[in-house]
Symmetry: C2
Subunit: 526 residues, 2 copies
């Protein structure tokens, strides 16, 4: 059977999911046996536990049928093999290929694109070796000590979250970072100004990241950096490399020390494993760390090919998410890593998920009659417990939760107080929260009652290593992709960002504009 | 008429709000005249624009009636005058008093509590003077250069967000910070370990913040700090002060260089203007900065006494929020500051709002039949534009938005590219987004269409100064309080955090526990 693209509510299985009766309450369902049985092994040491999610064997069967009828794994295979999946922009979707060939090599206009991405990675490794050895020096002949990424959105959040996730692992394993790393993203001049005042300009290398080479914020920040460098007598061209597409105005310009390329088949929010992420990560953390990261992501991509949903964590996570969104009607979901290293991982997932699946028309441009991508938010635990968990436990609207935990800390530096380590406290809190959300607690004072039945899943690994991080990132990328297939939307464009860009240009050009826009521009002094 | 406490759906005006017909679509409503007319002046230079929110004069009239019938301003006045408003815990709610007397002095058991809070502030000023002058020295006789706050939830998020909000203002106005500031919150040992490895221990002063003196995470992190200091031959007692209540086990202990007090009438999430926030802010930024911050908050508190909703920005913001939540049925709201300095302000508001109003029973413990506090999330613009704004523009669920903007940057350091400064670009983007969300745009390709009718408000000020920040904080605190009154809930307790704490203790004590909890504890290796 060839592939078809149907709306969720046009499929037999989808109709059943939309009308399925809620299973018995989690409060009753959640036994130790279920916790142990409802688990699936992921790549790179991950284990996915879904016993505390609001599903039972009957719902899982419906979801398996939905996966089969919507041909989710087959569509994934088509995607990695180079079918045009970003239909609106008529583009391939090849971020998987940046970490390895999933099924078979992909050629486009006679070019082996896997080889192209790999070539760029070889160039980055070679470049970072030379920087680390001091063979490539600053304009004052000094060894570079610091790297600053200038980019926004996909060129910022993912690489930043990945850097923070591995910074302390590298400090522990290697004794120190290879280079300090910072990021400038916002067009607010206070962002660039503050970062530039805090880094040693003479020994700082800047990576300018813009696929199109036309991103307003990034070009403004490039100018900011160049003016600042020039003011202190440094040669800007000797302090800046670029990550862009070969067709962009930035490509192969003499204004950059080096250029590393991506192409239109790597969406910004999926670009952490391309040169967008690997350049800064190799410079700051080391090429071996990046290779571990890519290896973990690739392993997760391979595990996502399994058609049996209970054997494929990303697929299962996606389908349960659809059940929560369309069957149970929950509009939001929270990502709660019990790991300080993942402090910005929820912000990256917020982008990944909401920008991919925040769509109201299907891939053919037809309006949809069901909800698509949820609102995603989150902060690390235990911090969140002292903040928004109140609403999660006792608010009027249930929020499905995605917990992430690790047996061991990254730095291995710990203290015993009141008979337990901090790491044990962290994980005791995590276990306690899952059960508190699921089972709740009756109390004679209803203000102290917990309704329970608040679903969650748990992704666990031994330690947050480069491999584990790569696999975690790919898990969520693939989850979002599978959900897009279920909803029959194009998860790989972002037309919703265009209107604001156009109106901004009108304001700046002081052109003829809508009177309300004119009024707001005046109010804001622009 | 004496005060009454009724559920929203028990009031005449509330019933009308719940059943009100949506006004004409924003797409049509939003004219320049409306933008200019629908504004109200706030304290400390703030202007609140609500022309792009989904209200018209008829809805505003309903909301005024609701405010009157639910006696919102009268309840606020009772609160600031020392009535027991935190009914579950039988406590007063006095955070307003930490920045000045709103209506009249508050006495409790013969004690003037305003004088008490003020005394603590005087003690903090005196202490920070001595630290700055080098009269109070480290255990090695050195001048302290760095201050680290150890606290979690309300003892962390607010002070951290406020520090980040003013850090660059101080650097610009004073040339540098008085002391560098860092924060340790998470029980994850990687948090404390990373911060301690990055500060100069010999010259670092720690502020241990826990109202009860029993917060598990904070005490574990205190031990972490003490062990680390002792290992390098420093005397921990000479490097640590505490902010706690007079009745806590930490109070007046010889283990601390100094103690600054709060009491049970200051909720954690409302404590940024108490010693919880002012100690670290005075040490890092200076007492004059804190006084400006308190002054701004106090001015906003005074402006919240106005009973006419169109003259009281916090009250109006609260009521429109209720309309969005209960009338229009929107379950989430986003806070979007166009200012990098406010990078963690949304996280603080997420705590403030979701912990205060994430409740499902009223102040008498009776279940409610309507939705209460929404999910709150946000990131600074323009960053968010390249991330989750896709869903906000084109997703299936509208999300009401709260924009915040400033005419001028904090650092005043800017660059012109393509004919405009970065600050002008920032604000052009902000104006453009408001209009894009409200008016949308039709396009023959429905994937490029924007439905519009997505409501937002705008808070604008000239520059983010200490006064402006204080007033901004108080605006949201008072908004959340008014909403709690409308919903007839107790916004000042947090019983939802208790069950997790109890279960955590059971896990750590390896006591008898629910088998599912035992299973999760094993999975997490604890």
């Amino acid at each position: 059977m060839s592939l078809h693209y149907k709306n969720l509510d046009q499929t037999k299985a989808g109709k059943k999911v939309l009308k399925a009766v809620k299973s018995a309450k989690l409060r009753q369902l959640l036994t130790a046996e279920r916790v142990r049985n409802y688990q699936v092994q992921g790549a790179a040491g991950w284990q996915f536990y879904y016993g505390a999610r609001a599903v039972d064997d009957k719902i899982l069967e419906l979801l398996q049928n939905l996966s089969d009828e919507q041909q989710l794994v087959r569509k994934y295979r088509e995607l990695v093999n180079g079918e045009v999946m970003n239909t609106g922009e008529n583009r391939l979707v090849l971020h998987h290929l940046t970490r390895g060939v999933v099924d078979k090599p992909v050629r486009w206009s006679g070019k082996d694109l896997g080889a192209f991405y790999n070539d760029q990675w070889q160039k980055i490794k070679d470049f970072s070796d030379k920087v680390h050895k001091g063979e490539i020096k600053s304009s004052k002949g000094k060894k570079f000590t610091t790297v600053v990424q200038i980019g926004i959105g996909g060129s910022d959040l993912g690489p930043r979250a990945m850097f923070l996730a591995l910074e302390n692992w590298v400090k522990k394993e290697k004794g120190s970072l290879l280079m300090d790393a910072r990021f400038v993203s916002n067009v607010d001049p206070d962002d660039a100004s503050a970062v530039l005042s805090a880094v040693p300009l003479e020994t700082t290398l800047f990576i300018l990241v813009s696929k199109s080479g036309t991103t307003q914020e990034t070009l403004a920040n490039e100018n900011f950096v160049r003016e600042t460098l020039a003011k202190v007598g440094l040669e800007p061209n000797a302090h800046m490399v670029t990550v862009t597409s070969e067709t962009s105005p930035l490509a192969k310009s003499p204004r950059y020390l080096a250029s590393f390329f991506i192409d239109d088949f790597i969406g910004g929010r999926y670009s952490s494993t391309s040169a967008v992420g690997t350049a800064i990560l190799a410079l700051a953390l080391g090429k071996d760390v990046v290779e571990g990261f890519l290896k973990g992501a690739h392993a997760a991509d391979l595990s996502a090919l399994e058609p049996q949903i209970t054997q494929n964590p990303a697929l299962l996570d996606a389908l349960i998410g659809v059940w929560e969104r369309n069957g149970l009607g929950y509009p939001t979901t929270a990502v709660l890593p019990y790991s300080q290293a993942l402090s910005r991982f929820p912000a990256h997932l917020q982008q990944l998920d909401m920008e991919s699946n925040g769509k109201r028309v299907n891939r053919f441009g037809e309006s949809l009659n069901y909800s698509t991508g949820p609102i995603v938010f989150g902060e690390p635990g235990t911090n969140g417990q002292h903040s928004f968990y109140q609403l999660l436990h006792q608010g009027t609207d249930p929020v499905p939760l995605q917990f992430i935990g690790f047996h061991d800390s990254q730095r291995g530096d710990d203290v015993v107080s009141e008979g337990s380590t901090s790491q044990a406290k962290l994980n005791a809190n995590l276990a306690a929260q899952i059960v508190a959300f699921a089972k709740g607690q009756k109390h004679e004072d209803s203000n102290k009652s917990f309704p329970g039945n608040r679903p969650s899943s748990l992704l666990v690994n031994k330690r947050l290593t480069p491999e584990a991080l790569g696999a975690l990132l790919a898990h969520f990328e693939n989850k979002v992709m599978f959900q897009g297939f279920v909803w029959n939307i194009n998860s790989f464009d972002q037309e919703g960002v265009q209107l604001g860009k156009i109106l901004t240009k009108t304001v700046l050009a002081k052109g003829e504009m809508d009177p309300a826009l004119q009024a707001y521009a005046e109010i804001l002094g622009v």
